[in-house]
């Protein structure tokens, strides 16, 4: 292997070795098309915000409905318990 006495010689070897490479034209074209599809496939920010808000509202309403049912069930159970004890004392 050759010996290098100066940095200039190393720089010369680097300039001969590190040459630009050309990517395949097909790759460049396909990637561009893919990026267009990629951008086109995503929802716009406004749509994304609307969808997120709808999901949050749906979750809130569902949880509220469940909580209301549980509360009504508890009240019914308590009411039934109270009427049972009343009829027992009568």
């Amino acid at each position: 292997m050759r010996k290098y006495s100066s940095n200039r010689e190393v720089a010369k070897l680097l300039s001969e070795s590190l040459v630009p490479v050309e990517p395949r034209e097909e790759f460049i074209r396909r990637l561009r098309a893919r990026l267009v599809r990629y951008r086109g496939s995503g929802p716009s920010p406004a749509v994304a915000v609307a969808v997120s808000l709808s999901i949050v509202a749906l979750i809130f309403l569902t949880s509220f409905g469940i909580a209301l049912r549980v509360l009504l069930a508890l009240i019914a159970a308590l009411g039934e318990g109270a009427s049972n004890s009343q009829s027992a004392t009568a």
Binding site: R2, K3, E16, S17, V21, L35, R39
Partner: protein, 188 residues
């Protein structure tokens, strides 16, 4: 000199305008893509040493760019600096993943173009280039990036400094140290 600086400024302004529109306008992003795809490909190619990974990672750089361009902040440096940073991170992850797997040799095509030379001279030259590329890939990441930007992209120290976020003097000094380190590797 002044005309050159003016030209540099106007191309920078054009680029800034494209970046501002690229979040909404696909054509603007397409222009930025055309201006930068070869640079990024070359950078990744020399960092990974093979065509397949260079294509795969280049695609990922631009997918990430198109996804996050809305959040891009202009800090007065070329748009390519942002793309190089994305590429740098992806290549670093690629090296991390690959260190857990067997090493793939450099592509046969990653060699200097050789003219009609004596076969023995060609073999020596090829061996020299292989050794050089091996040494380069063992250098710290910032030094590899510097060599690629300087020799493949033919950028000035000032332009490299803008991309790497360092001063021109720091790049000059890093370049000198890198050459000395490579020379020492060869002369070992």
């Amino acid at each position: 000199m002044l005309a050159g600086a003016r030209l540099h400024m106007s191309s920078r302004e054009e680029e800034r305008a494209l970046v501002e529109r690229a979040g909404e306008d696909l054509d603007a992003f397409g222009k930025l893509y055309e201006q930068n795809v070869r640079k990024i490909y070359n950078y990744i190619y020399y960092r990974t040493g093979n065509y397949q990974d260079a294509e795969d990672l280049t695609a990922r750089v631009f997918q990430r760019a198109i996804k996050h361009i809305g959040r891009y902040e202009d800090k007065g440096v070329p748009f390519s600096a942002w793309l190089y940073r994305i590429a740098h991170n992806l290549v670093a992850n690629w090296h991390r993943d690959r260190s857990r797997r067997p090493v793939v040799p450099l592509d046969e095509k990653l060699l200097i173009p050789s003219g009609p030379k004596h076969p023995e001279a060609q073999t020596i030259e090829r061996e020299e280039v292989d050794v050089l590329l091996g040494y380069i890939r063992e250098l710290p990441e910032d030094r590899q990036q510097l060599l690629i930007l300087k020799f493949v992209e033919r950028l000035s120290n000032a332009e490299i400094g803008e991309i790497m976020g360092r001063t021109e003097g720091a790049i000059k000094s890093l370049y000198h140290r890198t050459l000395t380190s490579l020379r020492d590797d060869f002369n070992q």
